[in-house]
Every structure is written in structure tokens, then in C-alpha cells.
Symmetry: C2
Subunit: 404 residues, 2 copies
């Protein structure tokens, strides 16, 4: 039985079979689950390679796995045996009218579109791959190849600076959810299924192109390394007298004028502007003279405590925030006060901080459901699927499907 | 008339009105456009603040704007005037059965869900906000507050290291596309519209939670700064004898064994393993002794050219790639050979490198459409919308709507 919240959830009724590991595919499935879809993650007996990924809880449970599989049902099968592979096909065949959707980052032939289409003619099958040519690739290798690490960090950095956020995996998982929803819309209009390939390397290449880096790179020099400065405007980190760092961003003339005023540098900046023949209401001139502007306002930050900086910037238009560690973020009162965040009881681990879907709307539950224990739903899910196959055959709604 | 490719595009027929600026909302709309939706971007006369954002083409045109608005139609209106605001309501009212969808990051009262619902009862309205509390926030301030910059960069780095990729804007834009597609599915099933709020800060908080950083942060210490090492495994950058950097990733015992063999260190690593009482087939032990492993294999990279490294790693299971600059990426033959990338003729700029949608499937055109010139479609789009309103009224399909 669906609860009221699940009934009004935007993806209520949608059923997705996920055979996945690591970040991208699990995040794609979880995004659909947090919007109300029933997402069944299938793992090999004992779990996929991500079962024990760091970070770990004190009891050894994976906070990574728990975080990326919230709200799913878990089925564990011997995927090396013909019986296990047949059971996956049964789950696809018996996933109901709003089912027949497979999301995977695995390349097994028995899990391919061509193989599973036998179980369900209108199959939607989205496979996340590595490189465009089928070569293996992961977030860190893809990131190296597209250019960001050699443009990140202080001007005098010699080598690459990798991101800690697996940004391409995150984008890939979200593209996967988009691909499935778009294909499901098309299927409702036409009855047609669809095979979709989503290479992680193409996600990085596409976004790098969309943001202009590729077009800029073709012009020759490409992006210089400029530390924490914003390219083409004035924004940078400053250190307060308390030893904290704050990020200060001025995107408009008003932001900039407020920063000049708060730091008591309006006159000095105007004098410099005049002397340099510059116009600091323009992004490009603020960028060209960013070191001068930074040098003029930095002493104000160094001369004030973080509390004083906070008070002075409040009520101005300046965009800013304090840099925090993950531990500070987790401990901040406003984090727990945000309805997006809940302390939940995670089976196998205990109480952990968990987050919901950032799309605030009726029908998305305030408290995220925990991740399942590995294999917790195997029997129930297989039973339900086989019942659906029998019922459908009895009503001649679908072609007769051989039960394994 | 729709071409064959557009007909079979998964989102053919969907019509979205976008009032947007910068990265997130434009990327959300463009993602839908590249899957076949008709996306109409509305700007104030003269353009929104992103019209002139860097990077710029040699002729001054914004490569940023061109990159984030591909395949849309452009309408420019005086949005300060009642007439301009009424015209937007007309566009919403006259957007057809598969329309009535608004995507914006603007907070004008006349553009709110409550205001536009008057024009269209089953309106889907997705607004991207800054902070959860309605405060302004941008990618760089949000990133400072969630924890990544203080965990990025070399161990001895004192301050924050900001990302160059606006990863939260990218994720937010993709979440916006997901939110719209999910709401549109719900509307098809129930007839109900929906108001959705998507705060950029909540996107960062949700993803930080999903990846386990929030749960880990609550345990106290949080994530240490470990340079380009992979947390909880063995992966790192190495410098070749040619002066290039390569990223080397070992996620499985096989990857690790291949790396040991290729670098001629199998014996030495086994001896070290035994002496330390460690088991390098385990992720956690490879991580604990990452500096030892790195020190043992680094000389092999330094002693070989990049070509030699490439040849030696080819055919092994080791995950790796060479770090490239954006300019190198743009110039690489395999970049242009990828069907995702095309040289297109961008109105107002000229020939540029542009990327399509990474979801490879029938119906998504190989060559991305360029961005429109600002306001190029104003008259045609308004005419079409008003014709639809008149036609609908004549057929009594919708309530009578006062034409402005």
C-alpha cells in the first residue's frame, strides 16, 4: 500500500531495475526513488565492489553505500548463474505497466538491451559506460583528460589539482535520471522502448563544452590558473582576523559598491580606478585589476573577527559565505534545521545524517528513507514480479513469458 | 514542421518557457531542448546579466552564453513594463497542451507560480533559488559553505582551494530538468500542476549528504586533505619523463597487480607488504600505505616518456589518463572525432566547438543547434502563442483567457 505522500509523489508507480555500483548509476536510481519511484537495486551475492567503499562508520558499515542507495529495495542474486540471470529477466518482465526500465553501469551480455528486450518489448534500457569508445573510465581519469585539474589551484602550482567532489559521477547520475524520464515520456506517447548509452567521459566533455571551456580552448591559450579568483569578474577568498576564510563574490556594480563601502575603501578604489583609466562597474575591469582590488580590501578582513565581518556584510548585497569543513557543516544548527536533512536510523549502521531530494514540492517526503540491507527484499520482490507475470498472462495483456 | 529526428526525439512536443540567467537554469532548459523540447528563453531587452559573461570570443561575443543556450528560441521583452509581463503570461497561456511549464531563477512576483497559475491552471513552475531560506547564493559561496575547498589540494595547503568547474550550478541545472520531467509525468497522470522550489544551496547539501561527507563529518574529524590521492584506495597523479602528468587509479586487486607488474615493482611491493603486515589486495591497506606505494612506483613514471607509459599501460586493467589543458582537449583529434562534438556556425560569433547531449540514442541530433541571437524569435513566438490561445478558446478546450 502506498502512503498518501507516496501517492502524490511525482514518480509514484514508476518501477526501475538497477544493476549498479559506485556513484553515477546508484545516484541516478536514488534520485528517481526520492521522487517516489520504486527502485530495485540488484547486487551479486555478497554485494558489488561499492559495498565496502569509504567513508566508513565506526562499525565498518559503508556511509558511501548507505548514502547512495536510500529508499531503494535490495535484491541479491548469484549473477554468475543462469538462474540468477533469469531471475533478473523475470524482474524486468514482471515490473508492471510502468516498469520495464533498466539502469545499469554493468556490461554483461545477459543484461544488455538486446537480451532483456526478449522479456519486455517496450524496454527502456540506460547503460552508463566509461569512454565513448567503450574503454573503461572513472571520474578521476575523465577529470584529468578534460582540463580542470591543470586550471585549479594557486597560480604557482606546478601539477594538477584534482577535485574531491566526484562532480562527473554526480552529473552522470543526474543525466541518467533525465534520460530515463525522457524515454518514459516517449514510451507513453508512442509505446516504443529505447536503448540509451551514457558514457561518463561524454558527460564531462558535454558539460565542458556547454560552459564554454572547449570553445575557449580552441582559441589557443585556454584558461589561466588564477587561484580562487573568479574568471572574468571580481570574487576571491579572504582571511579574517579570526583565522577563518570567507568567499566574497561581486557579480554586479551594486555588489562591488557595497564591498567597497563596507571595507571603507570607496575613495581609495575610486582613486585607483581613475589613475588606471579603469571602470570598476565593469566585470572585465574588476577582473583585470583583481589583485589591486584584493590588496586594498584584504586588510579590512584581516583586521576584523569573523563575527564582525558577518555583521558588516549582513544587509548588504555582497554575496559571501564562510568556508567550513565537513565537520563544521554537519555540526551547524542550520544544517539540521533544514528539512532536507534528517537524522535517520540506518539499518546495519545506526543513526546517521541523511539528505532528501532538493526539489521541494508536495509529495516528496521530508524524511529520507534509509538504504536497505543487502538482499533484504529479494524474496518479496521476486514473488511480486512473478505474480505480475502470471496475472498479465492470464489477462492476455502481455505475451506469454516463460517463468524461470 | 518537425524533422524526422525531432519527431522521434524523446521530448518532442514539450514546450518550456525559461526566464533565466547564468548557469543552472539555462543548463536545465538546454538539456530539455537537446532532447527535443521547444525551449523559449525570455530575456529583458538588451539581455540578462549573463549576456556578456566570460569566456568571450575574439569579436566579444560570449562563449558562455552561446554554450548554455543552444537549441533554444529567444524572446526579448521589456520585463519592467506591464505589457512585457502580460506577454510572458500569454506565452504561458498559449503554450499548448504539452506546455504550461516555467523554469526560472528569477523571483519577480509577476513571474511567480501564484501569478502565472491564473493564465494556466495546470502550470508546472520550477524556481531555482539561492539559499534554503531565500537568501542569495551562488556556486562559489555555496561551495565554500559545504566543505570541499578545505579538503582540496596538497596536504600542506593553508587555505581553501576552489573548484574551477561550477559543479553545483551544473548539478542544479540537471536537477531542474529532472524536476520538470517528473512533474510533467505527474500532470499527465492526474491533470495537476505543481510549484517546485530548487535552492542551489540545497543541491550542494543534498549531494554532500548522498556521498557520505555529511555522515562522516558528524563523526568528528571529517575528511583529511590528501592532495590528489583517492580517499580509501590507491590512486594518484604521477609525472612522466616527458614532464606530463598522468592519473593512475587502482580500484580492484587486478588493477593494483597490473600496476605493480608494469612498473616492475611486484617483488618490492610484496616484500614491503610482508614487512608491514599489510594486504595490498585490500583498498584500505593500499590507502594506509599510499605514500610507500607511490614512492615505489613513481621512479618508473619519471624514467619513461609519456609515449612509453601509454604503451606499457595499454592492454592492462589499470585505469588511467593523461592530464590535459583545455587547449589540448580542444585540439585532440579524438575530441572532434566524437559525434558529441561539432564545429557549428554560431550566429553573432562564427565557427565554434559545441557539444550535444551525452545521452546517445535515436532522435537526438548529432549536430547541436546553435544558440539564438537575442530576441530573434520574439515576434514568431508571440504570434504562435496568441494563435493557440484563440484556437483553444474557439474549441472551448481552455477557459477564456484575456488576450493582452
Amino acid at each position: 500500500m502506498l502512503s498518501d505522500a507516496q501517492h502524490s509523489a511525482p514518480l509514484a508507480g514508476l518501477r526501475v531495475i538497477e544493476v549498479s555500483s559506485f556513484v553515477a548509476a546508484p545516484l541516478g536510481g536514488m534520485t528517481l526513488a526520492q521522487l517516489g519511484a520504486e527502485v530495485i537495486r540488484i547486487d551479486p551475492l555478497g554485494g558489488a565492489p561499492d559495498t565496502t567503499r569509504w567513508p566508513l562508520a565506526p562499525n565498518g558499515g559503508s556511509l558511501y553505500w548507505a548514502g547512495l542507495n536510500k529508499g531503494k529495495r535490495s535484491v541479491a542474486l548469484d549473477l554468475r548463474s543462469p538462474e540468477g540471470q533469469r531471475a533478473v529477466a523475470d524482474l524486468v518482465a514482471g515490473s508492471g505497466a510502468d516498469g520495464g526500465i533498466v539502469l545499469t553501469n554493468a556490461g554483461y551480455p545477459w543484461l544488455s538491451y538486446d537480451a532483456l528486450r526478449q522479456a519486455r518489448a517496450d524496454l527502456i534500457h540506460l547503460r552508463i559506460a566509461g569512454g565513448h569508445d567503450g574503454s573503461p573510465a572513472v571520474d578521476y581519469t575523465v577529470n584529468a583528460s578534460v582540463g580542470f585539474p591543470l586550471a585549479t589551484g594557486a597560480e604557482d602550482t606546478a601539477g594538477p589539482v584534482d577535485h574531491v567532489l566526484p562532480a562527473w559521477d554526480v552529473a552522470c547520475g543526474l543525466y541518467a535520471a533525465i534520460g530515463i524520464l525522457a524515454a518514459e515520456r516517449h514510451r507513453r506517447r508512442t509505446g516504443e522502448g529505447r536503448a540509451i548509452t551514457l558514457p561518463l567521459a561524454d558527460v564531462a566533455l558535454a558539460v565542458t563544452g556547454h560552459l564554454g571551456f572547449l570553445a575557449e580552448g580552441r582559441l589557443g591559450a585556454g584558461r589561466p590558473r588564477i587561484g580562487n579568483h573568479l574568471y572574468g569578474g571580481f570574487a576571491r577568498d579572504f582571511r579574517t582576523g579570526s583565522g577563518d576564510f570567507v568567499m566574497i563574490v561581486t557579480l554586479t556594480p551594486r555588489h562591488y559598491a557595497d564591498l567597497a563601502r563596507v571595507t571603507g575603501r570607496t575613495e581609495a578604489l575610486t582613486a585607483v580606478e581613475r589613475a588606471l583609466g579603469a571602470d570598476f562597474t565593469k566585470d572585465s575591469d574588476r577582473y583585470a585589476h583583481r589583485e589591486v582590488i584584493a590588496a586594498l580590501v584584504a586588510p579590512w578582513f584581516a583586521g576584523h573577527t569573523t563575527d564582525e565581518v558577518t555583521e558588516a556584510l549582513s544587509g548588504t548585497s555582497v554575496l559571501w559565505d564562510r568556508y567550513r569543513t565537513f565537520a563544521e557543516l554537519a555540526a551547524a544548527p542550520e544544517t539540521l534545521a533544514n528539512p532536507l536533512v534528517s537524522l535517520i536510523n540506518q539499518p546495519g549502521i545506526g543513526e546517521i545524517l541523511a539528505t532528501g531530494i532538493p526539489l521541494a514540492q508536495p509529495g516528496t517526503p521530508a524524511t529520507p528513507a534509509p538504504a536497505p540491507l543487502l538482499g533484504a527484499d529479494t524474496d518479496a520482490v521476486l514473488r511480486e514480479a512473478r505474480k505480475r507475470i502470471v496475472d498479465s498472462s492470464a489477462h492476455s495483456d502481455v505475451e506469454n513469458y516463460p517463468l524461470s
